[in-house]
């Protein structure tokens, strides 16, 4: 039982990252119909921005001359918040300048997000090189920072990441349900033409959607960087799980995508731990298989079929 509990606790941090990416992907797809394939790279880029803030001027960073603007090294929380703000601006800029002019053509839009994917990867490799860097966690991360529950260790770090993510996504839900901006956002996702006719500034709402998605991705990248360190390919694995989780929500339900993120992390840990023929190192194969099986058995994901088909 304690082993099961331990594995469940271990899946929390990864689950938070998968859930955040899945929510970001779903939000953009739901509002604009564009599959933002650069979501993982945007999160990776934001993590490097956080690294610049957290490190301060450093001879190891090719970007060091620009960090004079940053001044001294910031605390990790401040660095992540700074990265979130910059990422939101980048997200809004991306929607306004890159996506909006070609949003009518889905192939062109997908091509543009892939262009962004390559551009961000090239930028990071040329500015900071390909080596592994360390950002650190905003939460206590020493060996003593844990609770012992039922013989299992629950790390403060994992709990902090999970609670932060739940709080942020809860705030997002409140924003959508209780504010005028949220109402406008829901109206735009439901019927864009109708929203325009009743005076909602659709373009601004879409820009806000992209900005929020980029911000959530940046938060995920910043928080998970304490667990997996910072590398140009750090988001590859997370993106696969994030896309899989978003698929569970039919690409349109942020709530189900969020649940899907934790579900995939749980499955990943449990399959690796309990199924004898599944090596803990090859869980990605099983995640893909689960994704294929889910798509095969239930094409609409976990969404009720009628709702999913109506919204297609």
């Amino acid at each position: 039982m304690s082993l099961f509990l331990q594995r469940t606790f271990d899946s929390l941090a990864n689950g938070s990252a998968y859930a955040a990416l899945a929510v970001a992907i779903s939000m953009v797809f739901r509002s604009t119909g564009v599959l933002n394939l650069a979501q993982g790279q945007l999160a990776m880029f934001s993590t490097y921005i956080a690294l610049v803030f957290a490190t301060g001027p450093s001879p190891y960073m090719k970007f060091s001359s620009n960090t004079d603007l940053v001044g001294a090294a910031w605390p990790v929380w401040g660095a992540i918040l700074g990265a979130i703000v910059i990422s939101m601006l980048i997200g809004a800029f991306t929607e306004r300048v890159i996506i909006r002019p070609i949003s009518a053509d889905p192939v062109a839009a997908v091509g543009a997000t892939l262009g962004l994917y390559l551009l961000l990867g090239a930028f990071v490799r040329k500015q900071w090189g390909g080596r592994t860097m360390f950002l650190g966690s905003p939460f206590p991360q020493t060996v003593d920072d844990r609770w012992d529950i039922g013989g299992a260790r629950l790390w403060h770090d994992s709990v902090g990441i999970t609670l932060t993510m739940i709080a942020v996504l809860g705030l997002l839900a409140v924003l959508q349900r209780r504010t005028k901006v949220g109402l406008a956002f829901r109206a735009v996702t439901s019927n864009r033409t109708g929203s325009t006719l009743v005076g909602i500034r659709v373009s601004r709402i879409l820009m806000l959607g992209w900005a929020l998605a980029a911000g959530i991705g940046a938060l995920a990248g910043g928080l998970i960087a304490g667990e997996i360190n910072v590398r140009p390919d750090m988001m590859g694995r997370l993106l696969v799980f994030g896309l899989a989780a978003a698929t569970l929500g039919g690409l349109r339900s942020p709530v189900l995508a969020f649940v899907g993120g934790y579900l995939f992390a749980f499955l990943e840990t449990m399959l690796g731990g309990y199924v004898s023929f599944v090596d803990s190192q090859v869980t990605l194969v099983w995640a893909l298989l689960v994704l294929i099986i889910v798509l095969f058995v239930r094409p609409s994901g976990l969404m009720p079929r009628t709702e999913a088909w109506q919204k297609r």
Binding site: L118, G121, T247, Q281, L295
Partner: protein, 376 residues
């Protein structure tokens, strides 16, 4: 049904033959005169032409997006190499193992995702592209693996033993030419027309009895098979495989080039394959890859491909630069070559005209109708 309009004019046919001969001539000249390194690169480009042609089938003929073509090439390479090393397959036939593996994986990915909106195929194939190198690193601890075999030219070819790169080039070129010829033939026939019908008007295609889902499935499997064959062929000159050979960026670069240069003909796959292989060589020769900072960024492969993708998206709305050269004038009216169909259609049109005329007369003389009604 053959249409008159689809026949190639003699001038066009001559131009195509001349182009094909020019390609063969240049290839022969390069194979026998260029340095072995360049011939090997050309061999790889020839192999990759097949993978690009597979993308053309997907994007142009089926209107689908695949972001995992590089991973399928990797699957083919892995299968071909292990078919020789573990199963003892002859090296000359090993690319066929790649063909089988690519077809199988393509079909497995396509079966669930084709039942959904088109975005899902892009999503699943991108996941596959990202996951492939990670999975390979985790699953096969023995990588890099070298091929247990060599390609020795038969004596009748007259190719010296130490010039095996020339023989490898001809081998790959033979595989690629035969495949392109067969696939082009398939696409010019009813299958190709059914592909286009399922792309443009899926509902109408269904109404005419075309099994759209099954057809798309075959298309994705065909495209995957071509990519797998390309991977198997890449093992001919390369002789070893590693998990770093087929990163997700390869798939995205292939998609970028297919989107930018892909046209309606499989031959449009050639520029993409050449750029994919020779651009890094060109950048390396100029020492651009070691430059960092902003200048290094502009001179990097990633930036060039990103710019290509964004320009294609903006300037051509994703249709590719080949579309800018296509004729804008409306196509000439084509008449069916089948005379029986023509006569039936003509008779039906005449009948409709006469019916309209009779109805017009009846409308002008309502008393005729009322009399008839009373009799009934």
């Amino acid at each position: 049904m053959m249409l008159d309009g689809s026949k190639t004019s003699p001038v066009k046919r001559t131009a195509w033959v001349a182009l094909a001969l020019a390609i063969v001539g240049v290839s022969l000249w390069v194979a026998f005169t260029a340095e072995p390194k360049i011939v090997t690169d050309l061999t790889n480009a020839t192999a990759l032409t097949l993978a690009f042609a597979g993308l053309v089938v997907l994007t142009h003929y089926l209107g689908l997006l695949s972001l995992g073509q590089g991973a399928l090439v990797g699957v083919g390479a892995y299968a071909a190499l292990h078919a020789v090393n573990d199963l003892g397959a002859p090296v000359l036939w090993m690319p066929l193992a790649g063909l089988l593996a690519g077809t199988l994986i393509g079909a497995i990915v396509a079966i669930p995702s084709l039942r959904l909106p088109k975005a899902y195929l892009a999503l699943l194939t991108l996941s596959m592209a990202v996951a492939y190198p990670i999975i390979l690193r985790q699953v096969d601890g023995n990588l890099p693996v070298t091929l247990d075999g060599a390609f020795v030219a038969p004596s009748w070819t007259g190719i010296p033993e130490n010039d095996e790169h020339i023989w490898e080039f001809f081998l790959v070129a033979a595989y690629a030419s035969i495949t392109i010829f067969l696939v082009q033939g398939l696409l010019r026939g009813p299958v190709g027309r059914a592909f286009i019908a399922s792309r443009d008007e899926p509902e109408a295609a269904r109404a005419f009895g075309i099994p759209v889902y099954r057809l798309r499935l075959y298309g994705v499997a065909l495209s995957g098979g071509m990519a797998g064959l390309a991977g198997g062929l890449m093992m001919v000159p390369t002789n070893f495989n590693d998990y770093t050979h087929f990163p997700e960026e390869l798939s995205i670069k292939m998609f970028a080039l297919a989107m930018a240069f892909g046209g309606s003909r499989l031959i449009s796959a050639i520029p993409g394959a050449l750029i994919l292989i020779f651009l890094p060589v060109w950048l390396l020769d100029r020492n651009w890859v070691v430059e960092y900072g902003w200048i290094g960024l502009v001179k990097s492969e990633g930036f060039i491909y990103a710019a290509l993708l964004l320009l294609t998206a903006y300037l051509t709305k994703g249709k590719g630069f080949m579309s800018l050269f296509e004729r804008r004038s409306p196509k000439a009216q084509v008449t069916p070559a089948n005379k029986r169909v023509t006569s039936v259609v003509g008779a039906m049109t005449d009948l409709e005209t006469q019916l309209a005329h009779v109805e017009g007369l009846a409308a002008r003389q309502p008393d005729i109708r009322s009399r008839q009604d009373s009799n009934d």
